[in-house]
């Protein structure tokens, strides 16, 4: 399996993420079997899978959803999976000795297996279900961090981290009297690798970085960063929230120690997410939360922990959301993540070209299209992004405006806020054309 993945990555024509990740193993879903691999995806056909794309806003304008980096839309397959649990076999998992409870447990564990396959984890037991990537990082910070970070220990982060991969580490080092160091970025939004190398001489205990920046779109060379960190004796946590939905990710090929992502950004329901960790690390870690399901034996004054991953899943989880996340993983593998990546890269290039050509004065942040995921942050001169977003909303166009949970990154570029368009499998060039028209209208309104 790993051999196939490695071979596929080395022989592929170097789209943006291959230096960072390997191609996934071929999807086993029947719907993909008719397609040649790597299949081009057909976003126009896929759009019919997303009921929300048939809706209109209060002015009768069709939905033009360009905020997938915040959360993705949900396909019928995911909606149906959630509905089926609630309508047909709503019951608790890992407990009931009756038919629907056994069905719920089986569906929940099948979702875990699907998600393990999506990122080529060695085994499903290495997938811990959490509410989102933020919770996954907190789990590691509390459980691994409180046991392994002490006075004077260093954690290396980067300047482009989402607050979720920043604040939990701040809390940890403040409590333990440790230190944070940051890899700076270039004006083009790339990590300064020579500074990273120098910071590794501090012998950090942990290095944590994002796979794909949610503001700049930068795709980081995660395998190289991981190898360098390991050579310096550090463990590696990767925030994959913006990567897993958009390109093949192979955690074994990357070689990281922890990899986290959210379900709701990968076409799954809100409230679902996953922490992947190497078995030996997870086994050595104490529980994060205590309660039911995470124990093997409970006595009045002490308990024995359950095996992984259940040790980290105290209490009844969001069962339907995780089942929906599993359906989303199957959906993505079915359409093929190589094709998804090619589609979104093409779209990103088209967006950058179109906006620069059609919208006078537009300033786009981050690297050029070949080094970025499907995220384009920009500003119009003298117009606040909130005003941009508000005017676009009238035309049914949904973009993000603000700091996108990356305040330090905005400070780095001396920006109060940016507007951001981001894409997914259902995004099409016509939506970018509509965005350009909308932005020209914004410029007209503010210029009158």
């Amino acid at each position: 399996m790993a051999d196939t993945a490695t071979h596929a990555a080395e022989s592929s024509p170097a789209p943006a993420m291959t230096h960072a990740t390997h191609a996934a193993t071929p999807a086993a879903s029947p719907s993909a079997s008719a397609r040649p691999a790597p299949a081009r995806i057909d976003p126009y056909r896929l759009r019919t899978d997303f009921p929300i794309l048939a809706t209109a806003n209060r002015f009768g304008k069709p939905l033009i959803y360009l905020d997938s980096a915040a959360t993705s839309l949900k396909p019928r397959a995911v909606i149906d999976a959630v509905d089926a649990y609630n309508a047909e076999y709503s019951s608790n998992i890992h407990r009931g000795i009756y038919e629907i409870a056994e069905r719920a447990t089986a569906a929940y564990e099948a979702a875990r297996a699907s998600i393990a396959r999506l990122i080529n984890a060695r085994e499903a037991a290495e997938i811990v279900f959490v509410r989102n990537a933020t919770e996954a990082i907190n789990l590691v910070a509390y459980s691994w961090g409180r046991r392994n970070i002490g006075r004077g220990d260093t954690i290396v982060l980067t300047e482009m981290e989402h607050h979720a991969n920043l604040v939990p580490w701040q809390v940890l080092v403040q409590e333990k009297d440790g230190d944070l160091e940051f890899v700076p970025i270039t004006d083009d939004g790339l990590l300064q690798l020579e500074v990273y190398e120098a910071l590794l001489h501090l012998r950090p205990k942990l290095v944590a970085f994002t796979h794909v920046s949610n503001m700049l779109g930068t795709i980081n060379p995660v395998r190289e960063l991981t190898e360098m960190a390991h050579a310096a004796g550090a463990l590696v946590l990767i925030d994959g929230a913006q990567a897993v939905p958009h390109a093949p990710v192979d955690v074994q090929a990357i070689g990281a120690d922890f990899y986290v992502f959210s379900g709701h950004k990968m076409l799954g329901p809100t409230g679902s997410g996953a922490l992947w960790g190497r078995r030996e690390l997870l086994e050595a870690m104490p529980p994060f939360m205590a309660g039911g399901d995470m124990i093997r034996e409970v006595h009045l004054r002490r308990s024995d922990w359950n095996e992984i991953p259940y040790k980290f899943e105290a209490g009844t989880p969001d069962i339907s959301a995780q089942i929906g996340m599993g359906a989303a993983a199957e959906y993505l593998m079915g359409i093929g993540l190589d094709g998804v990546q090619a589609h979104e890269q093409e779209l990103t290039r088209y967006a950058m070209e179109t906006l620069r050509r059609e919208v006078p004065g537009v300033e786009i942040y981050g690297p050029e299209a070949e080094a970025r995921g499907g995220v384009v942050s920009f500003n119009l001169p003298g117009i606040h992004p909130h005003d941009v977003a508000q005017i676009l909303d009238r035309s049914g166009i949904c973009i993000r405006a603000g700091h996108h949970c990356t305040m330090p990154l905005h400070e780095r570029f001396d920006l109060a806020a940016t507007a951001r368009a981001s894409f997914n499998v259902y995004s099409i060039p016509g939506e970018i054309d509509a965005l350009a028209v909308g932005l020209r209208e914004v410029v007209r309104i503010f210029g009158r």
């Binding site: 209060r58 992004p385 005003d387 005017i391 503010f446």
Partner: protein, 148 residues
Amino acid sequence: MKSSAYSGAERILDPMDDLYRDYILEHYRRPHNFGVLDTPTASYEGSNPLCGDRITMMLGVSDGVVRDVAFTGRGCAISQASASLLTDEIKGKTVEEVEKMTPDDLLDLIGIDISPARLKCALLSLDTVAHALADMASKQDGAEPGPG
């Protein structure tokens, strides 16, 4: 507020005009009372970290009356136009009158429909003025700021 006067049909025909009206954009482009006071009696910097809106309000108060007012800031059209309109409104009013101003008073002054997501932008100016006055009161009395 005038939202009730609009019918749905009018909104669809003329959707742009209820938020970015000419006078709002005019206040945004050429804000009234934009600048600094050399020796303000009350001053406060307010911000909406989530949007990056930022306003510093400076008041010149004597005998319980706001004689002079100035602000600086950056942010969206709504926040800056709101500050411009508010500074016009409070100049010459007594501190007591200004302290009694409610969010609804300010929204009436702005005169456009503000969606819930933009309320913080619209109300930042009044919030900042309230903080400035509370700071001033606490310094004068050496007491805790009141609930203004």
